[in-house]
């Protein structure tokens, strides 16, 4: 008779379970934790891929000049401008420059009522500058946002680096984009004061919602619904690699397609891109181990744990977190400048951002195809929470299938004429 249908043997089973209950619990828990950590091991997770067919990422060639002289010039100008007064942000300069380009540029004032009533009703005020580039042949029903936080030089620390290169880049790109006829969505250039607070004030005014402690003035102009936002933190110097910040409020993340898009565009420009500063050492891309060595595992594990840590804190890692509140997919691209050996000048960054926007331009719907909750052990590997139960059951088969799928995808890509990396 069967183990569970027979009364006697069932009783036996229950007795065994009760006797060793605590030990079993402890062992299962430990096994679970170890299993979870093992997910960072490359054969156990999956390679990233694009789910949204409309994106056509990186297919179109850049239309920027090979030496982006206007960006370099703006870069010099902004460096001079911020040196004048290190305590303030160059609002007036930005406003003037965007007006000169010929875009609709406006200011938005906001005030923050300090919530902790230790000091009697402290109110801080700030100013956002935003500029709207209208798509000539489209009806302004949708928009994309390029957001740059404004930080006075005195406030710059390692976690909140300087962003002046981004201002120059935005100006140069705005000038280039304005000349092109192929924008199907409006592009909004947003320069926010006080990082997340200014962004939230602007977003609240845009969507006509209210926050408890932030009061912003009404916007003089707006566009359609925002489909995606890129937050840019670029220093004025040359960049060695790009660090992506994904975590938003309460652990929200942007759609994985957007992350994959940014990674692919960076790779197209032969730039290094990392998540949580975990640089993929160049030699590993050509080694035979394919990410199965102990070093790789340690790196993947630390990246994954750092991502979980940031998510657990609930605080956003950049301005992009505020966009997640309104279901707008957003992430932050941080350019990391080191003392020597950096070759990614502002032209490379400009081409990456242009490529991202050209691809986002192709979108017809909001991002909905790919995952919203995932863990990234590396920029090209992902671990989706929906897949974890499956993994538990079919560990070996899944990893083999993934390998075959990756090979097949590579074969398909190369056959379709896609320039694989």
């Amino acid at each position: 008779m069967g183990l569970l249908t027979n009364d006697q043997s069932r009783n036996q089973l229950v007795k065994v379970l009760l006797a060793h209950g605590n030990k079993l619990c402890f062992v299962s828990y430990l096994a679970g934790v170890i299993w979870f950590l093992a997910l960072a091991y490359q054969p156990l997770n999956a390679g990233t891929y694009f789910s949204e067919n409309a994106l056509l990422p990186g297919l179109v060639e850049s239309e920027l000049p090979p030496v982006f002289s206007s960006a370099l010039q703006f870069n010099d100008e902004i460096k001079a401008e911020v040196e004048k007064d290190k305590k303030v942000t160059p609002h007036a300069w930005i406003f003037k420059k965007f007006r000169e380009i010929g875009l609709e540029t406006y200011l938005q004032n906001f005030s923050v009522i300090y919530p902790f009533r230790t000091v009697a009703k402290q109110v801080a005020t700030g100013e956002n500058v935003y500029s709207i580039l209208r798509g000539r042949r489209a009806a302004s029903t949708e928009a994309l946002v390029l957001s740059i936080p404004l930080r006075p030089l005195v406030n710059v620390i390692k976690e909140r680096p300087a962003t002046h290169g981004g201002i120059a880049l935005a100006l140069a790109l705005a000038q280039e984009f304005k000349r092109k006829p192929y924008w199907s969505k409006d592009i909004i250039f947003l320069f926010s004061d006080y990082d997340e607070i200014g962004t939230l004030a602007w977003l609240d005014a845009y969507h006509q919602t209210e926050s408890q402690y932030i009061v912003g003035s009404d916007l003089q102009a707006r566009s359609g619904s925002i489909q995606a936002a890129i937050n840019l933190e670029l220093p004025a110097e040359n960049v060695q690699y790009y660090n992506l910040l994904l975590e938003g409020l309460n652990g929200q993340l942007p759609n994985l397609d957007l992350v994959n898009l940014v990674v692919r565009l960076c790779r197209r420009e032969r730039s290094q891109v990392a998540i949580h500063h975990s640089l993929e050492k160049r030699r590993h891309q050509f080694s035979d181990s394919h990410g199965e060595s102990l070093e790789d595992f340690k790196l993947s594990l630390s990246t994954m744990l750092r991502m979980m840590w940031y998510q657990a804190s609930g605080a956003p890692s950049g301005n992009h977190g505020m966009f997640h509140k309104f279901h707008i997919e957003a992430l932050t691209i941080q350019g990391v400048a080191k003392k020597k050996g950096s070759h990614n000048d502002i032209g490379v960054s400009a081409r990456i951002v242009e490529g991202i926007f050209r691809s986002l331009n192709n979108l017809l719907e909001r991002f909905h195809q790919s995952f919203f909750f995932y863990l990234l052990p590396a920029t090209n590997r992902y671990e989706a929470k929906a897949m974890e139960e499956k993994k538990l059951n079919e560990e070996k088969e899944k990893s083999e299938d993934d390998k075959k799928d990756d090979e097949k995808k590579e074969a398909d890509d190369s056959e379709e004429g896609d320039k694989g990396f």
Binding site: N53, A54, L56, L59, V60, E61, G135, R137, A138, K180, P181, Y182, W183, S184, R358, N361, N362, L364, E415, E416, G417, D418
Partner: protein, 365 residues
């Protein structure tokens, strides 16, 4: 005086003789030595008198640019080979040329070098935008259109028409996706073609399809005189050919690219056959396997001219003698005649070569 007169007469006689010889020689010229009968018969060999084309692009959106380019390139080829716009039904979503994402507005290119704008000034789209639906497609084929439909949207073919049906888009095993919202299945399509046969709306039909798993679409055909070619087998994907980096899209599919290359070498009087056309994209070029269906077709494929379907050849033959043509009996079709009130007992139909078929069989009335 008499001598010159005689000479003159001899001269004239000589000229007459020479002229006679020349005429006799010419009339017995081996080049024109084909018998009269043969000349006349060759003229009526194909059996069709007019050509129609139904070109369908079943997908829309910017990333499906290549389907658009496919169908417009074929439209250009078919027009070049002589089928006029009045006999072409072009069903395409037409959202490429004026798409805000198009870096070259008002154009559609089928090649990276951007030499030919297949959209041009004179493209006539009959069903555009959201009119490209399965219902409209089936109605066009079967002729069941509302009274108010203009002539340009009707397929006014008769039993001596050769019809070319070309479809492209996204397909699967047994279906073709129409505009992201609906599908047409292979069974539906086979039934539509059978309706066409019953109503004598085609003499011969050539079905060409370039989608993924395209073979499945012609597997269910059962009407006679259909020739079909598909760009891929069931379980295979049809792949696109190349990207245009200036536009940022794939501009054409592989099978259509090579088919067009072949068609470009075809001129109006060309003797290229359908058998040659079927070999146009071998596996190393197309990656997918091109498959064909010839069992329903009565003629030999290697004797069928390409221009029977792709062009509209108006033959002109000059005869030196008169000939009388015998009346042809039209009841050569077996078992699928419509049955009218008068002739339901199997007697001969009305004499005469051309009779208007009944749109709704009288049995039902």
């Amino acid at each position: 005086m008499g001598n010159t007169g005689q000479n003159h007469n001899i001269g004239i006689a000589l000229i007459h003789m020479i002229t006679c010889f020349v005429i006799l020689y010419l009339s017995f010229n081996p080049a024109g030595c084909m018998s009269h009968e043969e000349q006349v018969n060759e003229f009526f060999q194909t059996g069709h008198t007019n050509n129609w084309a139904v070109l369908v692009d079943a997908s829309r959106f910017w990333f499906n640019y290549r389907h658009h380019a496919n169908v417009l390139s074929l439209y250009r080829s078919v027009k070049r080979l002589g089928i006029p716009d009045s006999q072409i039904i072009l069903m395409v979503a037409d959202d490429m040329a004026c798409n805000p994402r198009n870096p070259r507005p008002a154009t559609v290119f089928n090649n990276q070098n951007q030499h030919i704008n297949v959209y041009g000034d004179d493209v006539e789209v009959d069903y555009r935008g959201y009119e490209v639906t399965v219902e409209n497609f089936i109605r066009v084929l079967t002729g069941r259109l509302p009274e108010s439909t203009p002539r340009s949207k009707r397929l006014l073919s008769d039993e001596r028409s050769n019809v070319l049906v070309y479809m492209t888009g996204h397909g699967g095993d047994g279906f073709l996706k129409f505009q992201d919202a609906e599908e047409v299945s292979n069974v539906e399509l086979a039934d539509a073609f059978e309706q066409m046969w019953q109503k004598q709306r085609y003499h011969e039909l050539f079905f060409m399809i370039d989608t993924c798993q395209a073979e499945s679409m012609f597997q269910k055909f059962y009407s006679p005189n259909i020739l079909a070619v598909a760009s891929s087998r069931v379980g295979e994907d049809s792949l696109s050919h190349h990207v245009d980096p200036a536009l940022g899209v794939y501009v054409i599919d592989r099978y259509t690219y090579y088919a067009l290359e072949f068609l470009e070498s075809v001129k109006l009087g060309s003797k290229k056959t359908m058998a040659q056309f079927f070999k146009v994209c071998p596996k190393h070029l197309c990656i997918s396997t091109v498959s064909t269906r010839t069992d329903l077709f009565r003629r030999d494929v290697s004797q069928t001219l390409l221009t029977d379907f792709f062009g509209s050849v108006r033959n002109v033959e000059l005869l030196t003698e008169t000939s009388s043509l015998a009346k042809v009996n039209t009841s050569s079709r077996s078992g699928s005649d419509t049955c009218s009130k008068d002739s339901c007992k199997g007697t001969d139909r009305k004499p005469g070569r051309f009779s208007y078929p009944e749109q709704v069989p009288s049995i039902l009335i």
